[in-house]
Point group: D3
Chain length 229, copies 6
């Protein structure tokens, strides 16, 4: 469970044997993610996507972003043909749910890797090359701000999500003018602020991962087991 202000996201990792069909026989593992929001997470109840019968474009887009970001920090050959699925379920939403999800998902992924290493199921016991974290930055009333809550986010002129590593390199940069355009100098200011933010988050992640696992770690077992963060 990760909390960014009033935003709360439950991130859980599941390990399953096998990989998607297009990857079978490659010897490589797979890391993917599914993002979803509980109907009660927002102030005005949203419809359930299961009831509507299809996953919306926004949900798809965020799920793909989380999975892609996580794959940037892991050596997939060390996993063997196993899949790690990270579920990110937003329990309460107040802006920045996608960046909170990525930051929490890294912790869940890291826990899953520790558990797999303990079970001796990894070719390389340290497949994570770096930590990753994500923040949102935006321009509100002409000022650059970090991690906007929903009220500010909805009136931001520019909105940017940055995924970065603990060594300061970039994984993903997505900046959008909301019905407006922005100067390149504004982009530079937003990146400065974002990288300061992800650096701080990576420190917090390291502290969380240094603590003993909260709850019973499932016994390492050879098949279809699962680690929960």
């Amino acid at each position: 469970m990760i909390e960014f202000g009033n935003t709360k996201v439950l991130c859980a990792a599941s390990v399953t044997e096998g990989v998607p069909r297009w990857r079978v026989g490659s010897g490589l593992g797979w890391v993917t993610a599914e993002y979803a929001m509980l109907p009660s997470a927002t102030n005005t109840r949203g419809d359930r996507e299961s009831v509507k019968g299809r996953v919306g474009g926004r949900t798809h887009e965020i799920s793909r972003l989380i999975g892609r970001s996580l794959r940037a920090c892991i050596d997939l050959s060390a996993l063997g043909e196993n899949t790690i699925m990270i579920d990110c379920d937003v329990i309460q939403a107040d802006g920045g749910t996608r960046t909170a999800a990525i930051t929490g998902a890294y912790v869940a992924l890291s826990d899953a890797i520790t558990w797999l290493a303990a079970a001796d199921r990894l070719a390389d016991p340290k497949p994570l090359s770096c930590a990753i974290a994500a923040v949102s930055v935006g321009v509100v009333n002409g000022r650059v701000r970090l991690d906007l809550p929903y009220e500010e986010d909805s009136i931001a002129e520019v909105d940017m999500n940055v995924v970065a590593t603990d060594t300061g390199t970039l994984v993903e940069v997505q900046g959008t003018g909301e019905g407006a355009t922005f100067a390149r100098s504004t982009l530079d200011q937003m990146l400065d602020l974002a990288l300061a933010g992800t650096e701080k988050l990576c420190t917090l992640q390291a502290e969380a991962l240094a603590l003993p696992y909260p709850g019973d770690l499932p016994e390492p077992a050879p098949r279809k087991k699962k680690a929960k963060s």
Copy 2:
């Protein structure tokens, strides 16, 4: 949030103006529920129904059961043409999720009613005629047991869910032989045990509702607001 042993269900009520189309013009309100399980709630990850593109039969059946049970304890004419939707999302599952959901849903409904009454939006300020709670009972190795955890539930010979009121009358009784049949005397024993259980739960509910609301109660507002339990 209700916890029954290791089962944890998040129950939240949302109030919206208007009623389903077939009920428009009746002057009556509507109470309904949606039940869902997070993919990470069980030991072996389940697929998301939103990704599969349809709500399964079991989910449908439980959602209908919760809504029907809640409607047995409320005077729908007092609501006016408003709908109360109760979302029950299972965060962690260890047997008895549907009965935990009903018991928690009543608390969420009761909170929503208190909030509506405070906002002066009810024709009758006390539309709840009774409290309701639910338990599961089962027969395991020939012995009748209350509130089976998942390990026992999956080997039970008979499985019964009972929804009852705080005055001891019945709202719903669903008993099933799992690949077996059962004598009428067994049914009687299960009912005895179940009613003792729901009586105890109703006491716990009353205690929970007597406490001050945990967190900020949303300000009463004339449209599209929402109370969370």
Copy 3:
């Protein structure tokens, strides 16, 4: 074809080789059912579920109930890895379609078993441990009544479906207060009446099954054949 008053349900059994994926390798067979209502079965035409693109919750719930009830009376290991699918299509509906469907489905299942035994495809030639039948009971204007037609059913205060065997044990009990609650003594009265009803139905089933098969019995064949009731 079973008729309960004006309710007419066509029940047909199909035998296919193989079992659902989760059951492969168990050596056990499977019995399942699909229930559906023709759009013209009710007084006001209902929309086709195939056109709406999904099976509604009610249809799912009844299909599951029929399958579960049938599995209570059969030894699945005698079937080998074969599946018997019972299709219950409501041609005309006047209350009690689910109980009529279960009662007729047992006859179709029994015919299919006779046909499989004749074709020497059963490990045990008598895998049915008992007969099952189902009735609905309800409380209308304070009086307990058996097998309500639609007009009474829609105003019933309590509605209960009981599936029982020819030896008087219970398979499934589902009792619901329709926007109301009911006393335990009412439950007892309803059960008395229901068990008298299922006893009578089991006699009628036995008589129907004693008659020669109406129409040509398909020739026993080793693969993908089908018995129709």
Copy 4:
């Protein structure tokens, strides 16, 4: 219920107020049809389209053919803005289900018109300009044959469906070489045979419609009632 050899189709007409959205305000009525096959209608059980979640191309094509054929014989302005829906459900299939459905659908439509006229809901009491009936013809082993049963149909070299009126004019002609082509002289022979067949069927329809209505005709009522054939 219409029977062509072993093919049995249940045809029922429903009258509803209103027309599809694109036709509102035209002052014209609408006649349409839905065709479906019960899973147990064929020798090898077919999957339910409601369970598969979509209506197949063949079903769609036949539903459209039936509706189009019926609209050729009725003056839609006489209906006012009302819709007649004809449901054709195949109970047992042995070739020629679509032509049986059209022939039976005309009888159901005619019954519905009689009922609407009795209820004084038609601008013109005789909106049907002719009767229609349909047959299939085919070439099997080089010989032209009428109304092929399934075993012959599946080996036919050419397959043609003809919808015609009782005055011998054509409504629809669909001829297909099955993996082969055919000479124009063959088309002429097939048409000769088909028109002789539809003439005979129109006589049978007239006889059926001359009989008193089998069962209780629903009382004429001003809204949402329905006539069944």
Copy 5:
């Protein structure tokens, strides 16, 4: 790309190894087609079927017609267990899109066959037994007309599509009275005109196929390659 007046259809053939599941092991190949219309092809924008989530009845019907017509002129045993898929995408529509699609699809099929023969992947290097082409004919204001543009087509009393070979035999005949019926003599006149039209089209096809291939022909390769017309 085929143009019939203002109607423009892009026809492309793709060759893939393997055949649909029901055909595996037969040693026969398969030819099928998918027809679709771009939303911008018509004067009033149509909704995308991918966004609506299902393929409409008309689209299905035309796709089936194209595939069936093409299979009449090819010896499927010569293909081995390979599938040729013809995509017909309507870029601009002005009546007669299905007949233009069939006529163009034959050219694409013929190109694909040439390419497969060059790659030495055919059992018989000349599996096409004839050429096929299609035209629409109709009756407008009592006069029989060939290849109606949209404005005339939408007011035609009778509409007929004819698929024929270059030797004058018929593949498919579909004639429909649009809310009206037609005499057999009218059918004869329409067939005369249609066969004159398909004869002319077959000449044009032969000329087009005699030209060198416009653009780079993909190099013959043993797997999953594709020829474009």
Copy 6:
């Protein structure tokens, strides 16, 4: 029709009265886009999304990107409550389809605006505040490259799409490390190259728009007409 190397995208604008439901009554117009790829556009045929029954995540994501980009350059209050839908259909794909689609979509939007202004249907005759164009840049073998064709794109270490205006401000920046991370200095180099590219494209757009309209411009008409680029 826009061509970027071997990538060909057909962009067409449709104007319809009215706006999506959530925007009704705002007095503002709406601009949105739908992106799709023909199955024959790629070297290996892709499945149709209409046949699969749902729009994939990638398609959704690109459609949303195009719409968002276009809305950055237009004053929606000048449109009144009208919707401009831009359809971008990829006829042939060789990398950079989304950036080609945005660049072409702007031209189609501009044509639609000219047509609406001529028909006197705009509150402000010049609602476009700037031109927009998009390019992809990437890092291949350590070198920053503009507008990668498919072969290079699929092996790029970093991939970035930039949407910018003709005045050099930014609309959208999306940069992704493909299983890798990238330094901030690399981001700066990619932006330099991208902005040089969009500047050149804006010059080409202006030249294209200065030419007379290719083909018949539909007559300005008060309702449901449509301009095609």
